[in-house]
Amino acid sequence: MANPPDLGVWRRTSPFAIAFFLGATIKAVAGSYIQLVASFGAIAYLTRFEFLSSRGSLAWAILAVVLAIGAAALLRYWFFRFKLEEDRLLIRQGFVKRTALDLPFDRVQGINVERSPVDRILGLMTVRLDTAGTATAEGRLPAVNTELADWLRTRVDRGRRRKRVGDGEDRARTPVDAVHPGAESFPDLSAGAQGPTTGGVIVRLTNSDMLRIGLADRKALVLAGALAALAQAAEPFEDAILGVLDTLQTAVADLGTFSQATAVILVVLAILFVLLLAVVVGAFLRHHDFTLSRQGTAFRSRGGLLTQKEVVVEAAKIQQLTLSRNLVLRWFGRYRFEALPAGAMPVPGGDNAGSLEIAENLTVPLLDGPVAETMRRQVFTAEAPGLTLLPASPGFVRVSPYYIRAIALRTVAVPVLGGAVFTLAQWGPSATASPPFAAWCLLWLALSGLIGLQSWRRRGYLHDDEGLASRRGLVGSRVDAFLFRKVQGVTVKRSPLQRRRGLATLEVHLSSGVVTVPYIARDTAARLRDYILYKVESSHLPWH
């Protein structure tokens, strides 16, 4: 174990952290850019754009903004100090609003490391400690060296172990180490028997995987939309574009059969290709050389080309597993996997539940079904062997068909009512009886019916004695799975329609979020609720 340079001394991080604070300040400024643009627009309007005409004052303004950001970054660096102690890390920061953070190592959920290219050249990294129990806390140490990061890691590990031993609990009974009291009877289901052995790499992404991630990225769609909007905006330049095309055409005229239409299609295809390439490159930058591996009791993911990112999450802290896929991923036969650790817990004396920081999720951007099942077995160990994360599993039970009606009502109400109000306001009451309006209503009815039907087909749930998996989706699909003993609270809800039909919606509150099972028989919901409560209240295993 690396020895820390000095314990119990307040100190600053390396001056290179100024770059980190500069980035953070710029991000904070950019985060509120809408307000900035709005106020800038208001000023511009009020002064009738006069200040823009005098170049000098604009330059001064920009200079002032740049200086202010630089000064803020410098001040933030100067006032950021931390102290290492045997069992905790203390951070003091802020020059306007001062905050002091006290992080006992045994409360740290996971350590994440980020390295920018500059960091890597200098052998530095940014360490982030995810915790439960501190609201709005940023346990983040910018620009520290490798020794310190290693020291922190071993300390966090040791703190965790000491806590477990200190609790007087037989270590073999904690869920991390193979674990379930009944595990002896299912030796083939214990961690490692089926999946890769402890310490092994579970997922490694290749370059062709990067291509898949890029293609499945939602940004590809957004970019295509942006391209369409851009084409609209480019209308005034149509002549110029056509001129270019003309020259292109004459240039390739010798080749023969090029018409203007093919040229346009080619140009559009080329632009689309470039945009897709950009998205794929983005995936490359984020996930290059991505590996997910098991490290003792924790999972570690690491990836990224320029900025390397490492996320470490303790298996025991994971509250919920999520497997999802959209159309493109479905086409590739792959999934996206997420393991959600416990969210931050409320602090005594405060009830700012909305502003709690959530610990970082362990995300695998691309994996196939068998590996996802391996991950589930490794996280849940011998518990809940009857669960599955695969949405196509035949074990999923459908919810009541009245769900179709509920979804259809929800999707139909707003557009039809909105359309009616709009029509009334625009053309008077007589127009609401007109054929176009009726057609509009019919169209929406049909569409919402289809949406309801499809949502219902995707909805489903599956459970055994230890856990539950809930499936949902419209185009893609997503499965959330959790163990009963990690539940924080249960709600049974009944709408007027549900009460007439003897149905109910079950809401399960986890430390990582809420999982819903809608429109199941009331008795089933009540029985599940009572059973979950029984499991939670009789479980003596730690839940995080």
Partner: protein, 188 residues
Amino acid sequence: MFANAQVPAEALPHAEQVDWQPLHSRFARRLQAGVLLRVLVFAGIGAGFHYGVATGGMAVLITAAPLLPTVAWTVFGAISLWALAWPAIAVPYRGYAVRDRDILYRSGVLWRSVRAVPFNRVQHTKTDSTPLDRRFGLANLSVFPAGGGAHKIRGLGGDTAERLRAFVSARIEAETGKATDFGVGESA
């Protein structure tokens, strides 16, 4: 799919068949008093605006749409009356029940819900009361499970809230002593 060999589902205690405790009898009136205060404030603002429009430079607005003030005041009156009546309808549907190992809270007139929070998941508890609450001798109890989202029971009698809080805290202490890795520091 529900295979439950160890514990027959019928043997589990049913959360519905509990003795629901109603909220304090003065709670509906306290809510109505709150609504009344807000209605008065909005009515004052509205009256001021009305007067300003009628006498000021925007009198054109009233000559253009002479029915506008009447319609606006009618809508305002209807909403106010509804808001004043609502607590009397809704409060009887709310209630709580404390069991040995969890606390239940039900609410909702049309959309009904029953929420259960086990004591061994509660991080801490809190009671609070606004000046208006105190005038009516009421207090609110919040229990905080992990992962955010307070579980708040409004409209308890002041001493009931305090007794409940003490009870829940005692239960948490007991559970913490029993559980293995539960403590996150509060009890240490």
